[in-house]
């Protein structure tokens, strides 16, 4: 392998903030007090709705924008205040930013040429990296001859060819169609693991984030809400925003009743629901938010432990069937997998809902 990364380095954001004066709205905090430690070789995703500050954070790591507070370290070096061309980064832009007047070869070789590498070395490195991204033989093509996916690969090749210390992606797949998006994200992940290069990736697509990341930092209104693996975010979100943003979910108000023998008993939906753990500092009598994912719910006709409910609607989606059921005046979503037509429930049926204890997650209100 000719294209290899140097020793992977950590990225550390300490108390990063970005605020500016707005003529009408006063001081706007685009990003506030962001603390992240990206471990060497990790792919960390900044995930959040538009306007949450994820791209601004990424651009501050790149040096395209300067933070108004805090420090950024890449490796052991404090890069705060350094310009983008002094940080040795690879950046893949949302719209690729392919230089339209240069050939694929010249696009990819630009960074090496800036470093005044000898011509034969540039030729070899570009050929290797084009091979790596599956564009062997495209060197003399011009950007307008390329498809969206090919432009994406050129952008990727251009970002990694000069062996940057870190790799940054700003929503790189949002301009591709759905099928290509899935394919490209697999390739990006494979490449990132192969090069072992520390990477920060920005997206608003939760599925993309879950598919690609070692860890995900969920952002909301300029702050990081939770940093965790995809599994932890999904099963154990730290608050309602994360629970709602990632996946579909059922949320109810509940009241803590009892915590005996590691079994937590909560009163919700007029019934008793059991969970395996509770957030710290919650005492009997406190109110909590009860979360359960639709696919963790079971529906049966007969059960002694279940909660009585009525089926409102049924949507058959092939591999799964989605139900809307009502428990009292509360709407509950349930997703059942691999259910044949025979065992299906119909709108109007009376059913029992079962909430398995390991699927119930409690959060502070």
């Amino acid at each position: 392998m000719a294209v290899t990364a140097a020793q992977p380095v950590p990225i550390r954001l300490t108390g990063i903030g970005k605020s500016f004066e707005h003529g009408v709205k006063g001081r706007i905090h685009a990003v506030r007090d962001v603390n992240v430690a990206v471990v060497p070789g990790e792919l960390l995703t900044l995930l959040g709705p538009s306007g949450c500050g994820k791209t601004t954070t990424l651009r501050m790591i790149a040096g395209f924008e300067q933070p108004t507070e805090g420090e950024i370290h890449i490796g052991e070096k404090n890069v705060t205040g350094l310009r983008a061309n002094e940080r040795n980064i690879g950046f893949v832009f949302q719209n690729y930013a392919i230089f339209p007047h240069l050939s694929v070869f010249e696009n990819v070789g630009y960074g090496l040429r800036v470093q005044q590498k000898p011509e034969d070395e540039i030729k070899r490195a570009v050929a290797d990296v084009l091979d790596l991204v599956g564009l062997a033989g495209y060197a003399q093509q011009h950007p307008h001859q390329l498809s969206g996916g090919e432009q994406q690969r050129v952008a990727l090749a251009r970002a990694i060819v000069f062996r940057p210390r870190i790799l940054l992606f700003d929503e790189p797949l949002s301009n591709l169609d759905a099928k290509l998006r899935v394919q490209m994200r697999g390739e990006i992940l494979q490449l990132q693991k192969r090069l072992g290069i520390t990477t920060v990736y920005v997206t608003h697509d939760q599925e993309e984030a879950m598919a690609i990341s070692d860890r995900i930092a969920v952002m909301d209104r300029g702050s990081i809400v939770q940093i965790a693996s995809a599994e932890d975010l999904y099963d154990r979100p730290s608050n309602e925003f994360v629970a709602r943003f990632i996946g579909r979910t059922n949320l109810f108000d509940g009241k803590m009743r009892d915590t005996t023998n590691g079994r937590i008993v909560v009163e919700a939906l007029g019934q008793t629901i059991v969970a395996n753990s509770a957030p710290d500092g919650i005492l009997p009598g406190d109110t909590v938010r009860v979360m359960i994912r639709p696919e963790r719910i079971a529906l049966t006709v007969q059960s002694t432990t279940g909660v009585g409910a009525k089926v409102l609607s049924r949507t058959f989606l092939g591999e799964k069937t989605e139900y809307h059921v009502s428990v009292g005046d509360q709407l509950v979503q349930a997703t059942l997998y691999g259910q044949g037509k025979q065992s299906a429930f119909a709108a109007g049926d009376s059913v029992q809902i079962i909430f398995p204890a390991d699927g119930v997650h409690l959060m502070k209100p």
Binding site: R59, A62, G63, F64, E65, R83, A84, N85, E86, R87, N88, I89, G90, F91, F93, Q94, N95, Y96, A97, I98, F99, P100, H101, Y110, G111, V114, Q115, P143, H144, G148, Q151, R158, F162, N175
Partner: protein
């Protein structure tokens, strides 16, 4: 006329309405574009029934004329290079300088003034500043008998007059370069100078070439500035042709000199049309980045750019302030007592010229606007035989230097069967066919952005083609219509190079009166006339801008597009 179509539902030939309009347009173009040109060539090359190149060779053998030809090219080259540099400086500063809206507004005002002024304005201001009794040369520096006339002053005046065209050409090009392109190069370790050299400059190259060609053509055709500033030692072709006809009554000599001018003008036209077309890189990458570049310039560079633009803007505004001042004093340079007498003169003696100019502009404006929209619509949306020739023919008078058009009209409409000399109609026709192509281009550009499915939807709902045009297409292309109106009006108020040959005792123009005042050395009324024209054009431009704002939903309707052509 045989007219064919690719799509049966859109067949212009089946539609008597469109077939009739196309026929009418061809008749008009034949009459007001092709016929005058034929007359010009006929007069130049046909001698006693035989075609002869001898007269042309005689003109070329005349060393004075050869010098005029060479001077015209040198002047156009200098103005093209200098004006493009200035325009690029302004455009780059406006797009990447991170300036506040107010500062950009100031720069825009300074660059707008030369575009809406009558042709002699800058020349007069230069005379006032640097002439024998000039404010700067005589009063400030105490130089006696400073010789301002010649190449340097002419080139400087034309650069200041025409660089706003380069600015308006380059600004959208620079603005459409995705800042992420520059950021990408920057992130790969390139220095600012390198980013500029390898990204910004090559990406704006088509715009730079276009700006250069536009300025080259403007300078080549400029008749007014050299007439005032070039002096006797620096003859150029347009003024020589004019003097040949008005001074020596030699129509053929004038025609031949103007044909010499045709050669470089045609080269420029075809370079623009066939070489530059489609040479823009700007649309290659998909969605444009939403963020502006903050990296390409340091604060010190930004300040330098701002200071340079500010200095040039102040020079321009100083010239106009000087003009205003000289229109309000008894005699500039001799007696600086405040007076309104020059305005009194132009509103009494000068009133017929103002009235005539406004009548001609008021008639030409709607006709030119409609003509532009109709031709643009047919070219962009209909398939018919001769479509491209029609478009080309409609562009000819626009591309030709005014001197050629003026002499051609003079030759064509002097006698029966088309005796129009001495009427307002000849001036109006000249303006319509010379200045509507901006409206034609605006219409075509706008229609390329409007999806054809809108019109197809109308047709599918049973609307006839005229109904579709009136109810769907016309409202969509209203911004182009107003652009066309604006250009015809501005040029009707400020043009001189073609119409100087077409005025008569019955119909005269403000610009011609300014020239007469200048040759009689009554500079006060000339300044007052110029101020009046600037004010009228500014007011009308403002009103049209207000109308355009109502159609803001569609791009292409910005005020600067009025002036870009």
């Amino acid at each position: 006329m045989s007219v064919t179509s690719q799509s049966p539902s859109n067949a212009a030939y089946r539609d008597p309405f469109f077939a009739g309009i196309i026929l009418l347009l061809w008749v008009l173009l034949a009459l007001f574009v092709l016929y005058p040109l034929a007359c010009l060539f006929g007069r130049a090359f046909v001698d006693g029934g035989t075609i002869s190149l001898q007269p042309l060779l005689d003109v070329l053998n005349n060393p004075h004329h050869r010098r005029a030809f060479g001077n015209s090219l040198i002047l156009a080259l200098a103005v093209g290079v200098g004006g493009t540099l200035l325009g690029f400086l302004f455009a780059f500063t406006a797009v990447r300088g991170g300036l506040s809206r107010r500062v950009i507004g100031f720069i825009d005002t300074a660059t707008l003034l030369p575009l809406i002024s009558p042709p002699f304005t800058i020349s007069v201001a230069i005379l006032f500043s640097f002439g024998a009794r000039g404010l700067i040369t005589y009063d400030l520096l105490g130089i006696k008998g400073f010789a301002i006339y010649g190449f340097m002053s002419t080139a400087a005046a034309e650069m200041i007059t025409y660089f706003p065209i380069a600015y308006l050409t380059l600004r959208p090009i620079l603005a459409s370069i995705d800042p992420n392109i520059e950021n990408a190069a920057f992130s790969m370790g390139a220095s600012r100078a390198r980013v500029f050299r390898t990204m910004t400059l090559p990406l704006s190259m088509p715009g730079i070439a276009n700006a250069f060609l536009l300025l080259f053509a403007c300078s080549l055709a400029d008749f007014a500035t050299p007439l005032i500033l070039a002096g006797n030692d620096f003859p150029v072709l347009p003024t020589e042709a004019f003097l040949q006809i008005t001074g020596q009554f030699d129509l053929r000599g004038g025609a031949l000199l103007s044909i010499l001018l045709l050669v470089p003008a045609a080269v420029v036209f075809f370079l623009q049309r066939y070489w530059l077309q489609g040479r823009s890189f700007v649309t290659v990458t998909g969605k444009a980045g939403s963020r502006s570049s903050v990296e390409i310039l340091t604060p010190a560079m930004r300040f330098t750019l701002f200071a340079l633009c500010g200095a040039v803007s102040i020079v321009v505004i100083y010239f106009y302030a000087l003009l205003l001042f000289s229109s309000l004093v008894v005699a500039f340079g001799a007696n600086h007592t405040f007076t309104f007498k020059h305005y009194h003169v132009i509103f009494t003696e000068g009133l017929p010229a103002i009235r005539d100019t406004l009548i001609i502009a008021a008639i030409g404006m709607p006709l030119g606007g409609i003509y532009g929209v109709v031709v643009g619509y047919l070219v962009a949306r209909k398939q018919f035989w001769g479509r491209q020739s029609l478009e080309l023919a409609s562009m000819i008078n626009y591309a030709l230097p005014g001197t050629i058009v003026g002499i051609a009209y003079l030759l064509a409409f002097n006698d029966k069967p088309m005796e129009l000399t001495g009427t307002a109609a000849i001036i109006i026709a000249c303006y319509i066919f010379r200045y509507s192509p901006t409206g034609i281009r605006a219409t075509i550009a706008l229609l390329h952005q409007v999806d054809k499915s809108l019109e197809e939807a109308s047709e599918s709902l049973g609307a006839k083609s005229f109904t579709t045009f009136r109810r769907i297409t016309l409202p969509l292309i209203m911004p182009a219509f107003f652009t066309g109106l604006g250009v015809v009006f501005i040029r009707s108020m400020t043009a001189i190079s073609a119409t100087i040959f077409l005025i008569s005792i019955n119909w005269t123009l403000v610009t011609v009166r300014i020239l007469e005042n200048m040759t009689e050395l009554s500079l006060g009324p000339a300044a007052a006339f110029s101020v009046l024209v600037v004010v009228i054009v500014y007011v009308v431009l403002f009103l049209i801008g207000q109308m355009l704002a109502r159609f803001r939903a569609l791009e292409g309707g910005r005020v600067e597009s009025i002036l870009g052509g």
